[in-house]
């Protein structure tokens, strides 16, 4: 179980490329990268093309980031979800509160 995170900053957008699994063990790593960006009011795109599994702790990190962007007027968009992950966001109703860019989905 591993998660690798690559950060790219183009103009006003920070893109996080994730690959691996986001679970109770790797969620801390994601939280440390994502939450400060959200708290700074950044526009963040998270590319999940390389992610094949997210558990509830992983979802919690995205919820935490979403709440932070509400305070700072930042912006969070998720792209590149697999069918399994899209189902997870749909079941939990999070697809209606977090921006999901369908383009770039596989």
């Amino acid at each position: 179980m591993n998660l690798s995170i690559r950060q790219e900053k183009n103009e006003d957008v920070v893109v996080l490329y994730l690959s691996g699994e986001i679970d109770a063990f790797t969620a801390t790593k994601l939280r440390e990268e994502l939450i400060p960006l959200a708290e700074m009011g950044q526009t963040v795109r998270v590319d999940l093309s390389g992610v094949d599994y997210i558990d509830s702790t992983g979802l919690g990190v995205f919820i935490g980031a979403l709440k932070a962007t509400h305070i700072t007027e930042g912006n969070l968009t998720l792209v590149g979800m697999s069918t399994r992950i899209k189902r997870l966001f749909s079941i939990t109703g999070l697809d209606e509160v977090i921006a999901i860019d369908e383009e770039g989905s596989k």
Binding site: A24, R31, D55, S56, T57, L59, G60, V61, I63, G64, L66, K67, A68, I91, T92, G93, L94, E96, V97
Partner: protein, 337 residues
């Protein structure tokens, strides 16, 4: 204690003497056994060096001063190991203490779950809930009112272990304090959502499905807050359908409206509610398919609801070699007559 040290010194003396006289394997074996006795008596490495020095001088009064003095040096060096050893001891004691506290908490948590399933003439209800570790993040709840309406809740708190368990007690007390809304699923979830949103950390959330079964009309009214879909088994067509209520998980947003769904239940039909620990059972490196779960339910559906959930649990646990990755809860509500 003085007495024991005296005894140990005597024993060590005889072991050393025998060994130096015969240089046999037996002597080395005795030394190994003796080290276990030392650990039992919590004798530190530097204490042993001190014993060694005393015994050596006693047995061989003519031993060279350099050798005796060198043992003093060794004794100093060994003190570091002695400290590490005592630290290890105290960590071990603390671990035992923590473990016993968690056991007490786990027992307390069990008391938050219903002790028995409601008895209603027309219904057969079965439930099993097994934590992956000692404490569980899965929760279920039954409520029965004077009209024999049965309210069922199944919830999954993010994460596992102690934090999830603490959050679970909040849900339990919040549900207990909402009597007037008891049997209206959407209103109940809206109320709970307010409590959860105000009281949890930003990264926490809870998924829940709540339904109310009316045995007079045989309608099941339900609402969902992002919970794993269940199944509905329709006896007339002998088919499983997905039982899903769309809605946002609890604790994310202050104002959320939940939709209420309704399912007519005929004789022989049954409702299956579950936590994602069931659907995320891992077999080798793949996840179990939902169709495999309904196949398992079908295999055992001639049994009573309780035997059914226990049999399905047993088969899924066996496939994972009895090491659950997530808390597992499965509930079945069947209309008998």
């Amino acid at each position: 204690m003085e007495q024991t040290v005296q005894n140990l010194e005597e024993t060590y003396k005889s072991i050393l003497q025998t060994f130096l006289n015969r240089k046999s394997e037996q002597g080395l074996y005795e030394a190994q056994q003796f080290s276990k006795v030392l650990l039992e008596h919590q004798i530190s490495p530097e204490e042993l060096v001190s014993i060694h020095r005393a015994v050596l001088e006693e047995l061989y009064p003519s031993v060279s001063v350099e050798i005796v003095d060198s043992l003093d040096l060794l004794l100093e060096v060994m003190m570091g190991y002695g400290l590490a050893y005592r630290e290890h001891q105290s960590l071990r004691d603390r671990q035992i203490e923590l473990e016993s506290q968690i056991n007490v908490a786990a027992n307390m948590q069990q008391t938050l779950l219903p002790k028995a399933v409601p008895t209603v003439d027309q219904l057969d209800i079965g439930v099993i809930s097994v934590p992956a570790n000692k404490m569980s993040g899965d929760y279920y709840h039954f409520i029965q009112d004077e009209n024999e309406c049965v309210g069922v809740a199944i919830a999954d708190i993010i994460g596992k272990g102690v934090p999830a368990a603490l959050c679970m007690s909040m849900i339990k007390y919040a549900m207990d304090s909402l009597p007037e809304q008891r049997l209206q699923p959407a209103a109940l979830l809206e109320n709970l959502n307010r409590v959860v949103e105000q009281n949890v950390d930003d990264n926490m959330f809870i998924t829940m499905m709540y339904g109310s079964y009316d045995p007079r009309t045989h309608d099941f009214h339900f609402s969902g807050a992002g919970h794993e879909p269940g199944f509905f088994y329709k006896a007339s067509s002998d088919q499983f359908e997905e039982l899903y209520a769309k809605g946002l998980v609890l604790g994310v947003s202050k104002r959320v409206k939940f939709r209420e769904y309704s399912q007519r239940v005929d004789q022989g039909d049954f409702i299956v509610l579950l936590s994602d620990g069931v659907t995320e059972s891992r077999i080798g490196d793949r996840f179990v398919e939902r169709a495999e779960i309904t196949n398992l339910i079908r295999k055992y559906m001639h049994l009573s609801a309780q035997e059914l959930v226990e049999s399905v649990y047993y088969e899924l646990a066996k496939l994972q070699e009895f090491i659950l990755k997530d808390d597992f809860t499965l509930m079945i509500i069947r209309r008998k007559v």
